[in-house]
């Protein structure tokens, strides 16, 4: 038998369930929080559910010269709607953090941006998303070329079952980015260096990537993404499987990468959002509740739900 890291056997529609299950979960937890909340002059969280979810997102959704521009984006998994007309621009050279309780649609939103939802049977996306002004759901556009412009880092480190070198060289090879072996070596070197991994792996580039530690694997995954020379990097809870030290390294790395890339990061950790992002979007039950400068969101949230979430009342 072959064994794989995290070797669960996966059958049938997968992430659809993960993303889809959250709505009711969020409601349940919210109810508990509401019951536990001390009686005060304020409205209970549970009450705020009824009339609290705004028709419009609070805060400024548009930015000047956005890299991504999303208008009325909704996602359905079969009959279930996972994302409700989200309108949001994503700025260049900036980290946008997407926060919210489990199943709130933040990962679903992220996966719209590189059309990874297309890989889930029964998933349907409506609305428009443009990358540099071009509609990414345009049927005549080549989906592989689109994804090459958008890097993605996943929740769990998922290096290929190849050597460290081949992991980084995979993207350049499939997109034929380099002509000679020397160019490829150079690109692998730059990518690993930018990901802060070169010094740790330079003597064992031909060693299997799965032999690295979790934090190194995640930085390898980032290096692998950088090697394709994307314009945007999407990160789906990139540190949730890492220990605090590895997390700190990845966060430092994100801080450096921000100078050249637009980064959208889904995170469960509000501290992390506060540390690394410049703009924060709060999702709840498939809706974008509030988006604003990170400082603003965390010090002076405009919406009751945002405030309740960041103060730890629920989620």
């Amino acid at each position: 038998m072959t064994e794989f890291p995290g070797g669960s056997i996966v059958h049938g529609p997968r992430r659809a369930e993960v993303n889809g299950a959250g709505g009711s979960d969020g409601r349940r937890r919210l109810g508990e929080a509401g019951l536990n909340a001390k009686p005060s002059g304020r409205m209970h969280v549970a009450d705020s559910l009824e009339g609290g979810v705004p028709a419009r997102t609070v805060g400024e959704v548009s930015v000047e010269d956005p890299v991504f521009s999303c208008r009325d984006v909704s996602v359905f998994y079969g009959a279930k709607q996972a994302l409700h007309s989200v309108t949001l621009d994503i700025a260049r050279r900036q980290v946008l953090a997407a926060i919210g309780p489990s199943g709130c649609g933040k990962s679903t939103f992220l996966r719209c941006l590189n059309r990874m939802n297309d890989t889930i049977p029964g998933a349907r996306v409506t609305g428009t998303i443009t990358l540099d002004g071009q509609d990414i759901y345009d049927k005549s556009k080549d989906i592989a070329q689109l994804r090459a412009r958008i890097g993605m880092v996943f929740q769990k480190p998922n290096p290929f079952h190849k050597s460290i070198y081949d992991n980084v060289a995979y993207g350049p090879r499939i997109h034929k980015l380099t002509r000679t072996r020397a160019d490829l070596d150079e690109l692998v070197f730059t990518s690993l260096s930018r990901a802060g991994l070169w010094n740790e792996v330079k003597d064992r580039l031909s060693a299997p990537a799965v032999g690295l530690s979790g934090g190194q694997q995640q930085r390898l995954c980032i290096a692998r993404t950088l090697a394709v020379q994307p314009e945007v990097i999407l990160m789906d809870e990139p540190c949730s499987a890492l220990d605090p030290i590895a997390t700190a390294r990845v966060e430092d790395l994100i801080e450096e990468l921000r100078a050249s890339y637009a980064i959208v990061m889904v995170t469960h950790s509000m501290q992390q959002a506060a540390r690394v992002s410049q703009r924060t979007a709060f999702f709840y039950m498939g809706k974008l509740i509030e988006v604003s400068d990170t400082d603003h969101v965390f010090t002076n949230p405009q919406h009751r739900l945002t405030e309740d979430y960041i103060t730890g009342r629920f989620g």
Binding site: T119, A144, F154
Partner: protein, 284 residues
């Protein structure tokens, strides 16, 4: 009796029963190998590998033509059945995962997997032997291919399903087309399991007798012509074992020994190759 004691007794009982079951299986296997070795090694000589099948009731002779025939037909069978099986398994695991077509294919494949091999022999007889006008090695190879296919389809699909979706997603997200993800990511990760599947298929078809009776038949003489009947170990063993002649019976035992050990050696070799191929094997 406390609950703890009760659980201990239940545990002991279950453990004992599974131990007995294992022992029964191992004993049967041991007995089988023992009689094979005892009878097969009696008067075993290199003649088995160098001389042709002899006429009845004479001395000497070997199994060279049958060994060659079996090897060549198994080889051709795998060369036909392997690619078809791997591609079909790939379709089921990677492309048609939830489609109705794949459900139908999977079901038909399971039926084929459990179909009596003699039926497949008859099928190929009608399809190839009758139009050709005579029994032939190539029709034997085709029937072996049909038997190998469902085994390979099943193992290929299972092994590809074991490859974590997350690394396939990583490849997709980097802008790889599905075929590229399959060839560059899924196959290497599933390689050892797929190879094991191919090997299982080889083991299965190299011992098949029934389909060859209707297709390759047998040949007392040396023949390399794929359009003519060809000798092969299973049919020779079948024929010789049922005969009243002592030298034929002895060769039947020796043939059985040769098949068994050929498969054993092949399995060991494949495991070594797999271990070599897989430096990136995952640490647990």
């Amino acid at each position: 009796m406390s609950r703890r004691t009760f659980r201990k007794i239940i545990n002991g009982f279950a453990l004992g029963m599974s131990g007995v079951a294992t022992l029964v299986g191992l004993l049967l296997l041991g007995a089988l190998l023992w009689s094979l070795l005892k009878n097969g090694l009696a008067q075993f000589s290199l003649d088995v590998f160098t001389r042709m099948t002899p006429p009845p009731a004479t001395g000497g002779g070997g199994l060279l033509n049958a060994i060659y025939g079996s090897a060549i037909m198994t080889l051709i069978g795998i060369l036909i059945g392997g690619p078809v099986g791997v591609l079909a398994g790939t379709y089921l695991a990677e492309y048609g995962r939830n489609t109705r077509l794949s459900t139908v294919i999977r079901f038909v494949n399971d039926v084929l997997l459990s179909a009596p091999s003699i039926i497949i022999g008859l099928f190929v007889y009608e399809l190839v032997v009758v139009p050709m006008g005579n029994f032939s090695a190539i029709s034997g190879a085709i029937s072996l291919a049909i038997i190998a296919m469902p085994v390979i389809v099943r193992t290929t699909e299972d092994m590809l399903n074991l490859v974590p979706q997350s690394i396939k997603d990583a490849s997709t997200a980097m802008g790889a087309y599905p075929w590229r993800t399959t060839v560059s990511i899924a196959y290497p990760a599933a390689r050892s399991g797929m190879l094991t599947g191919l090997l299982l298929a080889v083991a299965r078809i190299s011992g098949e007798t029934a389909p060859l009776l209707f297709t390759a038949l047998n040949n007392q003489f040396w023949s390399t012509n794929l359009k003519e009947p060809m000798a092969n170990l299973p049919v020779v063993i079948f024929q010789f074992a049922l005969s009243p002649y002592a030298n034929w019976q002895r060769l039947a035992w020796q043939g059985a020994l040769v098949i068994t050990f050929a498969i054993l050696i092949l399995s060991i070799l494949a495991r070594i190759v797999v271990a070599r191929l897989n430096p990136a094997r995952v640490r647990k």
